[in-house]
Amino acid sequence: MQNLLIEKTNSTPYINFNAVSGVLQIKGESFPENAAKFYNPVMEWLREYLDCTSEQTTLDFEIVYFNSSTSKIFMTIFDVLDEEVKNGKKIVVNWRCDGENETAIECGEEFEEDLRYLPFNIILF
């Protein structure tokens, strides 16, 4: 399966989903006008990837700023992953943020609260 690589723009993050290493990276800011449209191919890739992998998968989020519609997408992603982990997949989410970025930390904490199975690590730097 092909890797997914999307360069960052002013309003969208850098995305590097590596199907071979199982490391999926999202880094930067995310406030596209139409978040659903931007993340549709990302979601598709992810669903396809999850369908065919049984390897350890790590999602690295390093998002400085994101809008509420992006937040909903992330929520959807985490729900999907939660379900997959429940069904036996090995998936870890690393939510990386600056120690001073209280908003990002708080959001991470809120995501984590909603999850039941998916390991969700908030990593400060």
């Binding site: 400085v64 509420s68 909903k72 970025n101 209280e102 908003t103």
Partner: protein, 624 residues
């Protein structure tokens, strides 16, 4: 109209292209001039060198050869005539006939045959025999042998005979111009018998005019404008290609000194002398001359310099023709090459211009559309503002307040809402999903929902109002397949302030800040957003009754667009902490000054960062 447009397009395009063509022409002209100059220098040098060489050769070789050939012909003829005459003089039969006083029949017949033979077979004009004994002058001329004359010492016309008898040498050559016939004869007079006592004079006569005419005819083949003169010892011209020259003095044609040099008696016989002169018309002539053997006659050949250099003209013409051909060829080549070379460049320019024109057109179209959209949104802003409570309205229930309402894109998803009742008032702040027009659409919907809700479920229970809002959202926004992903919704905070100043607060992800003196409290709403989803492990919404110092407390409601806005050196969000400490610092100021301070601090922090989201802050105190 389209045609006109295209015309202008190509017209604009031609500006720099014609400049390019202009350059090309310049290059071609410069190239041609360079070649022309080179050709000119080369040709002039070449012609000068050739000319010098030709003149040199003309003087040293060509003229002498030409005149030599003429002279040799004349000399040879004369020499042959001399030989023939000498043979005659030694003939014993001729002597016998003379000694018989022209009576011996046999020798007489022989003499007639002999003389006839010379005329008929060898082409001499006349053969003669004049006896010193009988003074009979026998002549064979025109197929006729007859006694032409009997010479007499008294007749001056016969003096030549008696002079010849006394000359004491074997022969003499006389040149005899016949003025009537305009012909010149060369007479070879040879003595017969002993030199001291000759018995007769014999010889042949040769028409020199014939000879010269022959030469002239020969010369005519070469189409040369040269002239051949035969000049007697007295300096008169007796033969010439030009009849006008005949019997004129040589000095009428040649300069005095040259005439004298030529006519000097001792001048060369075997070799030609060379000279040049300008005639009366100023034309330059080259002259060669020599004395004809055994005579004092001169053979003079002259040729105009222009004539002998005539072929140079053809060289010049050929050079000019060749030069012109080369120039034309080069012009063609230059043109071809520069066009071939310049063409891609020209094409690029053209393309560039076309593209620029296209970009201009597109930009104009975009601008037009932009203005339309801008106008439309500006109008939408007017509409959106009508649902926001006016300052006057707010002023009726709030003691002091400020409103910061900053949609990112003219209109936005943030709103605030006020409704007064007999027993108090409701104040709502909301942040709908999205910004710009989509956000604004949401605010319109939520606004009207709120109006309905307070009628249906009452106004005293903020949490119930939010629950009902969520329910209405789930009812209203079900029309799209992609609802799962975009799920329109909002964060909101609702305050009910009763007449007795009791405050009930409920928040969906939004907080209420209560500032008293320097202590600040954040009353967090529930961690739930209103997105139309119901059930599922969603925490419910709660009401909080706010305890506060009724005299001094001020309240703040804000949307996360403010605290989430990145800025500072590291591009981190503004953050609640920063907002709270700012409020603590300025809390004692009048609300309008607080507004200014908040915006200033925000601007300082965010600097040049683009604003990511709509943001709203309401600051107020209640007691009136």
């Amino acid at each position: 109209m389209l045609k006109l447009k295209n015309f202008f397009k190509s017209y604009i395009g031609k500006d720099s292209i014609s400049a390019l063509e202009h350059d090309t022409i310049k290059i071609v002209i410069a190239g041609c001039i360079a070649i022309l100059v080179a050709l000119l220098v080369m040709s002039i040098t070449g012609i000068a060198i050739t000319r010098n060489a030709v003149v040199n050769r003309l003087k040293t070789i060509d003229l002498k050869n030409m005149a030599g050939a003429i002279a040799a012909t004349i000399d040879a003829k004369i020499e042959k005539a001399v030989d023939a005459s000498l043979l005659l003089s030694y003939d014993p039969m001729l002597l016998r006939w003379v000694l018989s006083n022209d009576t011996d029949k046999e020798s007489g017949q022989f003499a007639k045959n002999k003389l006839g033979e010379l005329v008929e077979q060898f082409g001499y004009d006349t053969a003669f025999l004049t006896s010193a004994l009988t003074h009979n002058y026998w002549s064979y001329k025109g197929e006729e042998f007859r006694l032409l004359n009997v010479v007499s010492p008294e007749n001056p016309a016969d003096s030549w005979f008696f002079k010849t008898l006394d000359m004491q040498k074997k022969y003499i050559i006389n040149i005899d111009p016949n003025e009537v016939l305009q012909e010149t004869f060369v007479w070879i007079n040879v003595l017969v018998g002993d030199l001291s006592d000759p018995v007769a004079v014999t010889g042949v006569g040769l028409n020199l005019s014939e000879l010269i005419n022959e030469l002239v005819r020969e010369e005519a083949k070469y189409e040369l404008k040269n002239d051949i003169w035969l000049v007697d010892g007295g300096g008169f011209i007796y033969l010439s290609k030009n009849k006008d020259h005949l019997e004129q003095a040589l000095r009428d044609y040649l300069p005095q000194d040259l005439t004298e040099t030529i006519m000097e008696p001792g001048s060369l016989v075997n070799e030609f002398a060379v000279a040049e002169y300008y005639n009366k018309e100023g034309e330059l002539f080259d002259v060669v001359y020599k004395t004809i053997k055994d005579t004092d006659w001169k053979l003079i050949v002259q040729i105009p310099r222009s004539e002998s250099l005539g072929f140079l003209n053809s060289i010049i013409i050929n050079t000019v023709v060749a030069g012109l051909s080369i120039v034309i060829f080069m012009v063609g080549m230059f043109n071809f090459i520069t066009k071939r070379v310049a063409n891609p460049y020209k094409r690029t320019l053209q393309l560039n211009q076309e593209l620029e024109e296209k970009v201009r057109e597109r930009t104009r179209e975009l601008n037009e559309k932009n203005i339309k959209i801008q106008d439309s949104i500006e109008y939408a802003k007017l509409i959106q503002e009508t649902i926001l409570p006016s300052r006057a309205e707010l002023g009726t229930v709030l003691q002091d307040f400020f409103v910061i309402w900053k949609p990112r894109d003219i209109v936005g998803g943030d709103f605030y809402w006020l409704k007064k009742f007999a027993d108090g008032f409701l104040l709502v702040i909301g942040d709908c999903t999205g910004h710009g027009v989509p956000g604004a659409l949401m605010t319109m919907a939520v606004h009207s929902m709120l109006n309905h809700i307070v009628e249906d479920v009452g106004h005293r229970d903020p949490a119930a109002i939010l629950e009902e809002l969520n329910r209405l959202l789930s009812q209203s926004f079900t029309g799209s397949e992609s609802i799962e992903n975009i799920r329109p919704g909002l964060d909101a905070a609702v305050l009910f302030v009763a007449k007795d100043k009791k405050i009930l607060f409920s928040g969906a992800k939004l907080s209420l800040i209560v500032l008293e003196e320097h202590s600040i409290k954040e009353i967090k709403g529930n961690k739930v957003t209103l997105d139309g989803l119901v059930g599922r492990q969603k925490p419910g919404l709660s009401n909080y009754e706010i305890e506060y110092d009724r005299q001094r407390a001020s309240f703040y409601l804000f949307t996360d667009g403010f605290t989430d806005q990145p800025g500072g050196e590291r591009g981190l969000p503004y953050g609640k902490k920063r907002l709270f400490s700012e409020l603590q610092a300025i809390g004692n100021l009048a609300m309008k000054h607080q507004e200014t301070a908040i915006l200033q601090t925000f601007k300082n922090y965010t600097g040049n960062e683009i604003i990511r989201d709509d943001f709203t802050i309401l600051g107020f105190s209640i007691c009136k």
